[in-house]
Amino acid sequence: MPEPSARIPFAWHLARWRYGAPGTRGITILAALGLALVLPTHRLGLGDSWSDAHRTILMFGTLVAAFLIARDAAVSDELEFWLQHKGLSPADWAFAKWRANLLPLVATITIFTALLLAAAPLYGLEPSLGSSVMLIAMLGASMVVLSVLMFGLGASGSPNAPELAMLVVVLTLFAPVLSGSVPALLQSLLRFGLPPLFVVAELRDAVDARAWTVAARLALHVGGWCTAVMLGSVALLERRAPRN
């Protein structure tokens, strides 16, 4: 028999995406962000240049897509109840959802990047293949980090997981400002405890500069954080009993 998560029918994921994660409303929001990528939004003062403005929109779009698509992976639902009685653990079901969610996440990044590349010549820019690949890789890594964060918060069983996720992301974005005024130990805790979104950006810079040792250390940081959160989440999910 195939491994448990592979036994989940793909039709269940399709129905889930259509119904609520991201659902019609979510797809509309993502389409609006996609449209914003091809418009001259830099004239609204989002950045000094078209590139600046679109980098901001792209990062915001990544965040929104992760919230819309990856939020339900480890959250307890009605199917989990039935699956638990058919010998499939909540961890298997959650992991199957998380893995399947990578598909629409990657599709979103690809569409965003394609739109950006298609629009760039309109504003007198000629992006190179290398920079496009780097952009996709960085967005992909950020998406994975965010989906792992959502997975961890969903596994915690908190009914306020989406709000907590937003709080953690805001804290992450302000961490560089905060860490200047706190003791070294707390700085380390912030750096290693919070989602490594800035580490992903540092990783891109290190790869750009061909500083491979630094890049390897940063990649280890990102991989280690994701692995630790996933393992902790699976341990929590394995203890989750059916709510009957």
């Binding site: 036994r7 029918p9 269940w12 009605e78 638990q84 058919k86 010998g87 653990s89 009957n244």
Partner: protein, 241 residues
């Protein structure tokens, strides 16, 4: 009698709130297949007992085993059927997607004759494309019975399945439960509808405030002509006295 469906509860005790609320106390009973009815007032411990058998509730002390396997391990290793007091369905799936998907999760076993007969008797083909959240309570119960049978489990638990059902739906459900019987299968049904239970069960257990206060076979119940309701009420009075 197949050993795989023998449910053994040994000195089972479940307490909540650091022991302040005792839901079950000193329950020792062995269920050897057939349809077992579980009767008790609200708060008697019926749902907690079913949760323990389903491996969803860890006992404070004592043990529950099914076919010699601890209840939680049993649930994690083989399919079982559990029908909760309120239908619990994902809103986004159709009846066909739900049932076919569960079958796939169980490794696509061949449909048993009983499943096929019930699906046909319950007219599920007509409901196949309906979203689960648009079904009536009676229709939901029919889907649940067929879902519970997927994987051909040896143990099926019904938690007050007739609540809120009209007489026609109740009759259909009763026929469904009777049809689900087979050698080596244990079906436990908790219910407040004692007349329904009397028609169904080969054995009835009475629970009161967490204690097992009665254990009667169908033969015993029919021998003295006393209805299950009368017997239950007299048990309640004796305990009160």
């Amino acid at each position: 009698m197949s050993e795989s469906s023998i449910v053994v509860l040994q000195d089972l005790r479940v307490a909540f709130g650091g022991g302040k609320l005792v839901a079950l106390d000193g329950i020792s009973v062995t269920l050897r297949g057939g349809i077992v009815g579980l009767v008790g007032a609200n708060g008697a411990g019926k749902t907690t007992l079913l949760r323990c058998v389903a491996g969803a509730q860890v006992p404070t002390s004592g043990s529950v085993s099914i076919g010699g396997v601890e209840a939680r391990r049993y649930r994690q290793s083989v399919p079982l059927g559990f029908i909760p007091a309120q239908p619990r369905f994902p809103a986004y799936l159709s009846v066909a997607q739900f049932l076919d998907g569960l079958r796939q999760v169980c490794g696509n076993p061949a449909m048993t004759e009983c499943e096929r007969d019930l699906a046909s008797a319950f007219d599920l083909e007509r409901l196949a494309d309906r979203r689960l959240n648009t079904l009536s309570l009676g229709q939901s119960r029919r889907v649940e019975v067929v879902a519970a049978l997927i994987g051909d489990p040896d143990l099926i638990l019904f938690d007050e399945p007739t609540n809120g059902l009209d007489p026609i739906a109740m009759t259909q459900l009763r026929h469904g439960i009777i049809a689900a019987q087979r050698p080596g299968r244990c079906i436990v049904v908790s219910s407040h509808h004692l007349d329904e239970l009397q028609r169904l069960a080969s054995r009835v257990l009475f629970l009161k405030e967490g204690w097992l206060v009665g254990d009667h076979s169908a033969a015993e119940l029919s021998s003295d002509g006393q209805s299950l309701e009368a017997r239950f009420l007299s048990t309640e009075r004796v305990i009160h006295a």
